[in-house]
Point group: C2
Chain length 239, copies 2
Amino acid sequence: MLTETRAKTGALFFDVFGTLVDWRSGIAREAEALLRPQGHALDWLAFADAWRGEYQGGMEEVRSGRIPFSKLDVLHRRNLQRILPRFGLDGLSEDALRELNLAWHRLDAWSEVPAALARLRGKFLLAPVSNGNISLMVDLARRNAIHWDAILGAEVAGDYKPKPAVYLAACAAFDLAPAACMMVAAHSYDLRAAEKCGLRTAHVARADESGPGTGERAPKGPVDVAASDLIDLAVKLGV
Amino acid sequence: MLTETRAKTGALFFDVFGTLVDWRSGIAREAEALLRPQGHALDWLAFADAWRGEYQGGMEEVRSGRIPFSKLDVLHRRNLQRILPRFGLDGLSEDALRELNLAWHRLDAWSEVPAALARLRGKFLLAPVSNGNISLMVDLARRNAIHWDAILGAEVAGDYKPKPAVYLAACAAFDLAPAACMMVAAHSYDLRAAEKCGLRTAHVARADESGPGTGERAPKGPVDVAASDLIDLAVKLGV
């Protein structure tokens, strides 16, 4: 009855980078704000793309078991070190590197997100199920006025999506069967993995995630809901 | 700089049962609401006290390593089974037992708590660092309109207070040094354990926690702040 009682509510789990927040322009903006005053001039969007380009490889080290679980802030820092030479940034101070790594904590949500999440919270439990660590999720929520019921995801599970443990740990934390939970993401690989764990799935189109026309305009496979944005998702979920 | 930047904010960690919510009258009320219609008549407050009386013993099984970590809902259920015969409740159905166990998810906050937490959130990151599991904390927060930044505590740490791992895992989740975090509790044993881990401490007097005059009117040792309630805490923290 624990499960049944809470299942009446149901939960929505959200991917964050790309799905809820615009990492590309945010990283470019933050890098420029920090580094231009230090005399650096570079293609800031290309810098953001290069940093994000190391993302999956960094997590794969953990997923494969080659290194123990490390939170995403730590992987972001390793990934940053890797791309510095490409942008002539080898000489940055330790303080600058630490500050630059916090750029991921200062990203803005896509415009409809805060209001849509507040609306969805009237009907569902809400949690990020992101690969971002807890403090990163907390800072993004504060910045964008998002009220999560809990911060779930990689750090709570001790592994990275799309490993099944991450989705299943989120359901278990809420005492909900996977079928009472829906994963919401702009990336079909994330939804496919969630679906294999028994969760319902919702795709949100973020066509310009990595620059104009680079994102998924539509899901690459079957989903329970395909939405143009989170307001459209709310409408389609009857909220 | 990660730590330093976030330390400017600082975090307040809260014990929940007794400190924020009134478990005794809540458990008595929920048990009566469920069991009286089934023909049971008993001393409901004594039932609440008996159930809570098994609390530390149940967790000690985990803390000592005799059983693997189990979330508090599971321990509450084991503890419930133990006291049923004392109250002539051996014959309860599985459904009734499951429902009764959810009484812990339906407790009311002491009256000043919601407003005081909203005020404290203007200056500090807030999280429960309770022995209660995530879903239990989520339900209590929904019921009492509490906005946590994250749910931390026993389930995230995989052990129970007063083990040091629980306090230290909470600081680590927020990327904060222990000295940038303050544990807030009505129980001196909890504060003493947090202090040993390097956290700051605040005592909140809940004189009637387990019935009139049973609670700690004052801390049993040195603390950074001794408060009469959470509004008094906010004033003393300059919020």
